[in-house]
Structure formats: C-alpha cells, structure tokens
C-alpha cells in the first residue's frame, strides 16, 4: 500500500470578487486548462473571464420537454382512442385540445428533470469526496472567500510558475492541496 499523498493542486485565496475576476483573466491568458475558480456566489462576468463556453444544460431541458410532450400526446391517444375508446361528453375519441393540458404538464415536468439532472450530470455531482473539501481554509469558500485552484494534472503545470502567477495576481495566501 502506497499511502504517500499525491499533490492535487495549488490553491490561492482572494478577498474580493474583483480580485478573483482579474486573477482568473490572468490564469486564462497564461493558457492553463485544468483550473477552476471557487466563489460563495456566482460572480458576474466570471464565465467570460475564465473563457467558459455556454452551458449545455439547455439541451437536456429541451430534449426533456420534447420527450414529455410526445409522451403525453401518445399516451392519451393510445389510452382513450386506441386501446379502449369510450364516447364521453360527445367529444372526439382523440383531440389535441383535450390532450393538451396533461401533455403540457408532462413537457414541463420532463423539462425540469432534464435541467436539474442535466446540471448534476454536467457537474459530476453528487460527489461527496473532493480533495478541496478536506482543506480547512477552503471551508471559507461558502462564507466570504474566493479561491483559485490550478490542478497538478494541467499539462502546463509547474509549481513555481503557478505560484508566481498567482502571487502576481494579488493572492495573499497560497498553499498546496493534497489529493
């Protein structure tokens, strides 16, 4: 058994939203790929500062919605017009009008599942173990601190350079995190 702790990455603490935003721009421009910013709330403009692309969650929700609407319409057509047709209230066996309310609700239901579970899937959550969560100082990320982490797995990673870059970006506290 090899219990020697492997380094996970270098973590730098910042005190304000403006500082972390500018630090993120610097790290992005330095060409790192495996790095991330941790904030107590979503910082406006951070996606651009990090160079992130538009989130893909929308596709999950859209496909969920289409699936819901189709399911609703087909289900009602099958049940009330095909499998067991009954004349009720002089209305046609199947009409998109009366089938609309339930199908519409299913559209929203499946769309909502798509967006929540799509989000969790894209974020690879739930993940109850994370190296950063062991770090005592990192617990302040949900309180009032901002952190920037460059992972050792990044192809451009070198501890000295990363430390220098983060110091230049204005971090007052930099340390290594173990996996």
């Amino acid at each position: 058994m090899n219990n020697a702790p492997k380094p996970y990455g270098i973590i730098a603490e910042f005190r304000t939203a403006a500082d972390i935003l500018h630090a993120a721009e610097k790290v992005r421009d330095a060409g790192y790929q495996k790095w991330d910013v941790f904030t107590p709330f979503p910082v406006h403009g951070m996606d651009r500062a990090m160079g992130l692309k538009n989130s893909k969650v929308g596709w999950f929700a859209f496909l969920g919605g289409v699936a819901g609407y189709t399911t609703g319409m087909l289900m009602i057509w099958f049940m009330n017009a095909l499998d067991y047709p009954l004349v009720v209230g002089g209305k046609p066996m199947f009409s998109p009008f009366y089938a609309f309310p339930p199908s519409y609700e299913l559209t929203i239901l499946f769309g909502a599942f798509g967006s929540l579970f799509g989000m969790l899937f894209l974020n690879r959550l739930p993940r109850l173990y994370h190296p950063l969560l062991k770090n005592r100082r990192f617990a302040l990320v949900t309180h009032d601190r901002f952190f920037l982490v460059i992972e050792c797995a990044d192809p451009k990673y070198s501890e000295a350079q990363a430390r220098k870059l983060l110091e230049e970006a204005g971090s007052r506290h930099i340390e290594m995190v173990e996996d």
């Binding site: 979503p42 406006h44 403009g45 951070m46 996606d47 651009r48 538009n54 002089g90 009008f97």
Partner: protein, 419 residues
C-alpha cells in the same frame, strides 16, 4: 455586433415611400369607397384596428415602463411616446368608421324589440352610445399619451425628478382607464360585428395581440435608429435582448389567451358561443386559423427559444416583420368572416386602406420624431440603460448575458461623481 454596423445606411431613396403609400393607397381606397362601399367599410376597419393596436401597444409600453420603474427601456421610450401620440390622427381615421357604422354593424339596423341579443344590450348598443364610447376612448387615449409625452419632454429641459413623478402618476391612473377603454373599444368595434357573441376574454385578447405586434415594431425601429446612429450611444445589447424576451413572453401570452378562449368554448359546446368559431372554421378560414396557430405561436415560439437569437439582427428583423403579417391575419380572422363567410379574401381595397394609413401615420411619426430629442435626454434612468452603472449589482441574472458584451468599454464622465 453593433460596432460592425456603425456606418449609417443611405435611406434617402426610401424617403418618398410614405408619401407614395399615402397617395396611392388613398386613391385606391377612395376608388374602393365609390365602387364597393361595404367592402371599403370592412377593409378600413381592419386597417384601422391594425394601427390602433400599434398606438395602444405603445401607450401600454410607456405606462408599463413608468409603473415598473424600468431603466433599460429609457432610450426606446421617446419613439414609443410618439407612436402613442398618433391617437389624435387615429381619431380622424375613425371618422369613416363612424359614418359607415350602419354598414358595418348589423345591430344598428335591427329593431331591439325583435332581437333579444340586442335588446339585452340596451342602452349600450344604441347609436348615441356608440359615438359616446368612441369619444370617451379617444379622449382618454389622447389625454394620457399627450400628458406622458409632455412631461417626458419637460424632463429633457429640466432633468428634475418632478416629471418622473408626474409620468408615474399618469401611468397609475392611466393603466385603469386604458384597461377599461381598450376593452370597450375591442367590444364595440370588433366583437359587436357579431353582437350575439360574447366572451369575457375578448379585451385581453385584443390587448395581447396588440402588444405583441408593438414589441416587434419597437425592435425594428430600435434597430433602424441604432443603425442610423441616432440611438447608438444610448443602447447596448440588453435592449435588444429584453425586447426579444418580451416578444417571446407575449408570443406565449397571446397563445395562452387565445387557446383558453377557444378551449373553454370548445368544451362548453354551447351554440350561443360556438357559432363564432364555427363560422371561422368554414372554407379557407380554417386554414387561416391554422396559420394563426402555427405562425402566430409555434414559429415565433420555437424561433425565440434560444437566448442568443434575440440579438441576431438578421434573424430578428424578418421575425418582427412577421409579427405584422400575423397580427393582420389575426385581426382579419376576427373581422372579415362577417363579410366573407365562405373564406379568406385578400381584397384590393384591403391593401389600399392599409397602405394609406401606413403611409400617413409613418409621415406623421417621422415628422414628430424629428421635432424632438431622439431619446429622453435627462432621464434619471438613462445612465442605467446605457450600462454605465449597475445600481443594483448583477442585474442580469443567470449568466445568460455573459455571451454578449454588457460591460461598456469606456466609462463616460459622470457629473457629480459616483464615488
């Protein structure tokens, strides 16, 4: 996106178009009046209700701006105020309807003692009341739009807070009067074509379609004024994005209102209500109904679903034009089956009346717009609209606008300093 289109277009060759429309359309309409008076009356009513939508929608948007204490819509408010101030001219354009009312409205030539539906509506459905309602409606609209523009122009001079409070006051009172008068207008001028029919939703229905089409128009006007450099300095991507989002919202709202009305009548299946839709499912009217379902709702709904398309001008401009076509068809669906019960007819007099009003109102609008500052110069919320201040931080939610540029490159001088 905006930076690439900084050179103004040469619009000089379009300058004569409104005049030509007015003259040509006027001649055709006049000919129509002489040849076929009944068709002329219906065509005129259709064109009139179409342009009434525009002014009513603009008045609503101005009042909504004040009621919500909105910031982003300040640069657009001036041209909306001018659109709303077309009401006096619309009152003039109402004169032929007032004169030809007996041709249009069957109830005017019926004896109330022989017609229960008419008898029930006494004394509202009498000729004096018809004219009184028209006078009240136009009185309210002219008064409100006039006051709102007056105080807006006043603020251009003083920059004080008082005009803002005045405009809010007129909007608060106005929204009530507007709701009542627009409902009455929709009932007396459109619903009364078949006076036996009734629906509590009808006022909301006309309102929803009107605002939808006005939003499309506002988007187009903003685009043109931006392109010509008139509004460029006061706009950034948010205005387009928000207008597009509102257009999307009203696409859904209109569909919701119309579906609810149809659905409740369909389910209730009572002959005193269904006959209105039965008439509109005959002949080619059925296809017009389909076009409304798919063109008025599904197409714009699916088209506007994505966030980024709302600021793609090549995509939005045709869509905004489409709102005109769809709203015209929707009104035609309401008005014309009375005259042409067998199917949809696009009559040459329709085009003449529409062209005449379009040309005339455009000329007046352009003249008014040229006379006054192009946007509220000293509105206290202008600085917000321009994106130079975020009075409430991160007003833009959901990171949805991180894709477009909402942080200005250069900050202008702010008087008094905001340090």
């Amino acid at each position: 996106m905006k930076k690439s289109m900084s050179t103004p277009l040469d619009l000089s060759r379009w300058r004569k178009v409104p005049l030509l429309l007015t003259a040509g359309g006027g001649l055709v309409a006049l000919l129509g009046l002489l040849v076929n008076r009944e068709q002329f009356a219906f065509s005129w009513l259709l064109a009139f209700m179409f342009f009434l939508s525009l002014s009513a929608g603009a008045l609503f948007l101005v009042m909504a701006h004040h009621l919500f204490d909105a910031g982003w819509s300040v640069p657009l408010r001036r041209f909306l105020e001018h659109l709303a101030n077309l009401f006096p001219w619309l009152a003039v354009l109402f004169v032929p309807i007032a004169l030809l009312a007996p041709t249009l409205y069957q109830w005017m030539s019926l004896d109330p003692h022989l017609d229960h539906a008419l008898h029930a509506k006494q004394p509202l459905f009498t000729r004096p009341m018809f004219y009184a309602v028209a006078a009240i409606c136009f009185g309210v609209w002219i008064f409100l739009s006039n006051r709102l523009r007056h105080w807006s122009l006043e603020q251009d001079r003083s920059g004080a807070a008082l005009p803002t409070h005045r405009m809010r006051f007129y909007s608060c009172v106005g929204i009530f009067l507007f709701a009542i008068t627009l409902t009455l207008a929709a009932i007396m001028w459109m619903k009364a074509l078949q006076h036996q029919w009734f629906s509590t939703m009808y006022g909301v229905y006309y309102f929803a379609g009107s605002v939808w089409m006005t939003l499309g128009t506002a988007y187009l006007i903003t685009l043109v004024l931006d392109r010509q450099g008139v509004l460029t300095d006061t706009l950034h991507d948010h205005q387009y994005y928000f207008l597009g989002s509102l257009l999307f919202a009203f696409t859904v709202f209109y569909a919701y209102i119309h579906f609810s009305q149809y659905f409740i009548i369909w389910n209730g299946n009572m002959p005193e209500e269904t006959f209105w839709y039965v008439l509109r499912e005959k002949g080619t009217w059925w296809w017009v109904g389909m076009v409304i379902i798919f063109g008025h709702f599904f197409l714009p709904f699916l088209a506007l679903l994505r966030i980024d398309v709302k600021s793609m001008f090549g995509f939005m401009a045709p869509l905004c034009g489409w709102t005109w076509l769809m709203h015209y068809l929707d009104l035609s669906f309401n008005i014309m089956p009375v005259k042409h019960p067998d199917g949809f007819v696009l009559h040459w007099i329709d085009l003449g009346c529409w062209a005449f009003m379009a040309g005339l109102l455009t000329m007046i609008f352009l003249r008014e717009y040229g006379k006054h500052p192009p946007y509220p110069l000293k509105d206290p919320r202008l600085v917000e609209a321009m994106g130079f201040a975020h009075p409430i931080p991160t007003q833009i939610s959901g990171g949805e606008l991180d894709e477009c540029d909402d942080t200005p490159a250069v900050h202008p001088e702010v008087q008094g300093g905001r340090q």
